[in-house]
Amino acid sequence: MDLLELTIKDVSEKLKLRVFSCRELVEECFSNIKKNDKKINAFLTLNEKGALKKAGEHDELIKNDKKIFDKKPLIGIPIVLKDLYTTKGIRTTAGSKIIEDYYPPFDSTVVKKLIDAGAIVIGKTNEDAWGHGSSGENTDYKPTKNPYDLSRVPGGSSSGSGAAVAYGAALVGTGTDTGSSVRLPAGYCNLVGLKPTYGRVSRYGIIAMASSFDSIGHMTKTVYDNAKVLEVTAGLDPYDSTTFPIKVGQYTKVLGQNIKGLKIGLPKEYFVKGLDNKVNNSIRDSLKVMEKLGATIKEISLPHTDYAMAAYYILVPSEVSSNLSRYDGVRYGGTREIFGAEAKRRIMLGSYTLSSGYYDAYYLKAAKVRTLIKQDFEKAFKEVDILIGPTSPTLPFKLGEKVDDPLKMYLSDIFLCPVNLAGIAGLSVPSGFVDGLPVGMQMIGPQFSEELLYKAAYLFEQETQYYKIRPEFKNG
């Protein structure tokens, strides 16, 4: 059994046919972890005992209940959870030392849904502490490495989840995407990564970074797998006032439908500044594939793109500084000087932008610019159906390359964070390799366009099959 050769679709079929058992599958995950995680640092907490126990229970269910695959669509599927996801009785650290001993007394809504659907939690993954980062290097623990090249970052902030799926520790890596944090690791680790429409998936129990930006997404090897998981996680939650009372889509059912006549827009502002030439060429090649599949391509403009980062770095730290106020050491965790440098930086910046005398010039102004950015996308979607651009302006960069310059680090999100400002959907798909390193292509769609994005991404994936390219743990 080789997890890197398996997808959710494969595993479900093979479990049905009893080619292997849930227990064997879980054992394989932990075998891969024991082999590789010392080098890669994808995990903060492992759930070996719990996972094996669950696997045993599921094997019984599969034996006795023919309909179990309908009742529990993810039965036996090994998943990893970003350590921002609250898990009852399993340590949850947010990648930070300040709550390194926190054992939540409740489960996040999404965790409950995944477990009820039969998924097996392998462990909690490493991340930039509190979600603050794009590389995984802001973890308070050891930074995660990219399985394709161990001298490089896997992307962040859901760095551990991306790396874990990429090296075969699980089939699904959950994450949160506030400005890039699912799409970027997906792009750097050759995975499919979804940032769903804000409000499509419940945030209840997910440790908050920026409340009006956090989107609860996940990474998988293939589009079908990704769509399958969204069918479970999406939906209205009475515990989260910002979720929508809109029906969950039939995401896997639309896969295979053709996309003839699909209008694709290329934001001209994404194809200029700082875009690595090699990445640009790779994306252009992928666009030719889209045309072959029947889509038409046209240049459009998102005129306020230049201001998106600035608006982002006012609004997000403002909300961050507020959401981190509860860590006072009284009911859980340690005292506030334990916060890492990036957390302190964002608390300071956010306190400043909300403070008396500065609120109008910063927070209020940025909130108005946010409206303009939202309108940019709305206008664009009147002309085209989806937008395409590179997931990242560069190839996965080297560890340590941007760590000392926070502003430089912030700018790696330039194609990704406008999607969070607008609250719309973004999907990163494997788009090829350059110099042995993965390139990701981002598809952006309006609110609740996940079905359309999956449709387009699926055909592209079937045509190119980049997901089959395995990591080689280079420079380890």
Binding site: L84, T86, T92, A94, I99, Y102, P104, P105, F106, S108, R203, Y204, G205, I206, I207, A208, A210, S211, S212, P238, Y239, D240, S241, T242, S318, E319, S321, S322, L324, S325, R326, Y327, D328, V330, R331, Y332, S351, L354, S355, S356, Y359, Y363
Partner: protein, 454 residues
């Protein structure tokens, strides 16, 4: 003596709503539960990842209170985060309302003049701090049962000009709130918390009467906050003390320090609690976890139609229709539901041509011992009728019983003769007991006196 200074007072009153569940979560709303920390959940305990969902009833009750105070309603409203650090504030911010409170611009009438209501808004209560010595060390212990209880804040314009007016205002507010039955306003248990901002304005010509107030004029350049007052009497005394204390400072040519003070009931003085370093920077911003509230015409219609008649109008109506004094009828009920029952009783009394004012007095003086809200109207009126009824008995028959009573109560007779006229009540009662009949007092006492004299 002419006073040189006008007290300028504004009040902030916090009231706990008695909803079944919390403001933003489904925990039991029992701020005074016997055991600490038994009604908490991830939301009101501020655990990582928890999210608030607003209680519709708490919002509706806040609007109802605003309407009863003559306020305008913001049809588009929202919750904001108010940031400050304190151990009893689990999220490090309180979910409150900043620039779009549910209600604003109302008024409460007092016998000293109207008091403007600036705003009525809704927020969540904090946990409770208990100060104790543990192992010889001073510590603060925290109970979060109260965290998340819906709290309404009512703020007045600085239009209160005396301690008596402040007390009357606070009492009236409590009456309105209890009438709406949205809070018990139990001041000793923290269900209603009084705060007064007090300053003195120098008046160029001296103040002659209490009602010659400087409304709309210039405000003093400082104010002292009097907090944690849990009785109307302490409110009055605290304000009085402050007026004296501030007068002394101003007479010395100095300005009182802007600070927070508490009231010490034993010593009857106010004392410093905290010096205010200018306004705190709460870094308010709209709470991203809570979508804004839009009061549709339909929803406002529902709220308005469930709004009871304004309490002042009820009293006025009764005064006009039944000639019964507000000071007495006030004692008969608290809630709107109860006032409706009384309306029903009054209407029925009138139909049967029975005296409403007599009824009201009898109940108020407890001469008629009947639970107005425990029995049905018919029964209550019957009991009242009985109390008015007198039994059939002739003077001669009565005289027989009077004779008997007088002869076995010689001391009472001599007491009466020596001037103790209230002994008559005793004698009359004895006669009625002997006769086993109810007799009109006037008539009976006349007969008894006749026989005593003879």
């Amino acid at each position: 003596m002419d006073k040189k200074y006008y007290p300028i007072i504004g009040m902030e009153i916090h009231v706990q709503l008695k909803t079944k569940s919390g403001m933003f979560c489904g925990c039991k709303n029992d701020p005074n539960a016997k055991e600490p920390n038994i009604n908490t959940c991830p939301v009101c305990l501020g655990l990582p990842g928890a999210l608030p969902v607003a209680n519709k009833k708490a919002i509706e009750w806040t609007v109802k209170l605003g309407l009863a105070l003559g306020c305008k309603i913001n049809t588009l409203s929202k919750f904001d985060r108010k940031h400050y650090f304190y151990p009893d504030l689990p999220k490090g911010y309180q979910i409150s309302q900043y620039d779009l409170p549910f209600c604003y611009d109302g008024k409460v009438e007092t016998s000293f003049g109207p008091v403007g209501i600036t705003r009525v808004h809704l927020e969540e209560d904090t946990g409770k701090l208990i100060h104790q010595k543990v192992n010889g060390r001073d510590v603060s212990l925290i109970d979060f049962n109260r965290s998340g209880t819906p709290l309404v804040e009512i703020v007045t314009e600085p239009e209160i000009y005396s301690s008596l007016q402040a007390k009357e205002y606070a009492k009236k507010l409590r009456q309105v709130i209890r009438y709406l039955d949205i809070s018990d306003c139990d001041m000793e248990k923290g269900g209603m918390r009084l705060e007064a901002n007090i300053s003195l304005l120098r008046h160029p010509q001296g103040v002659q009467t209490q009602t010659g107030h400087p409304k709309g004029g210039q405000l003093p350049n400082y104010k002292v906050e009097l907090k944690n007052i849990n009785s109307f009497r302490y409110l009055e005394r605290g304000i009085e003390y402050e007026i004296e204390r501030q007068t002394e400072i101003l007479e010395e040519g100095k300005t009182p320090v802007q600070e927070t003070r508490g009231f010490n009931a034993e010593k009857n003085i106010t004392f410093i609690q905290r010096i205010k370093e200018g306004a705190a920077d709460y870094r308010y911003f709209p709470d991203p976890d809570l979508p804004p509230i839009k009061f549709s015409e339909k929803w406002m219609g529902e709220i308005r139609s469930s709004e009871p008649e304004l309490i002042d109008l009820v009293f006025t109506r009764w005064e006009n229709d039944y000639k019964v004094d507000r000071k007495i009828t006030e004692l008969l009920f608290e809630t709107a539901g109860e006032s409706k029952k009384i309306d029903e009783i009054f209407i029925n009394l009138t139909k049967q041509k029975l005296p409403v004012d007599k009824f009201v007095n009898a109940v108020a003086n407890k001469k008629l011992a009947v639970n107005l809200f425990g029995k049905n109207t018919g029964e209550i009126i019957d009991i009242f009728k009985k109390s008015l009824a007198v039994d059939e008995i002739t003077d001669d028959q009565l005289k027989t019983f009077i004779d008997k009573v007088l002869s076995s109560n010689q001391k009472a007779v001599s007491d009466f003769k020596s001037g103790k006229t209230n002994v008559m009540n005793f004698l009359a009662g004895m006669v009625m007991r002997e006769a086993k009949k109810k007799v009109e007092f006037g008539r009976l006492s006349k007969l008894i006196i006749q026989l005593i004299k003879s």
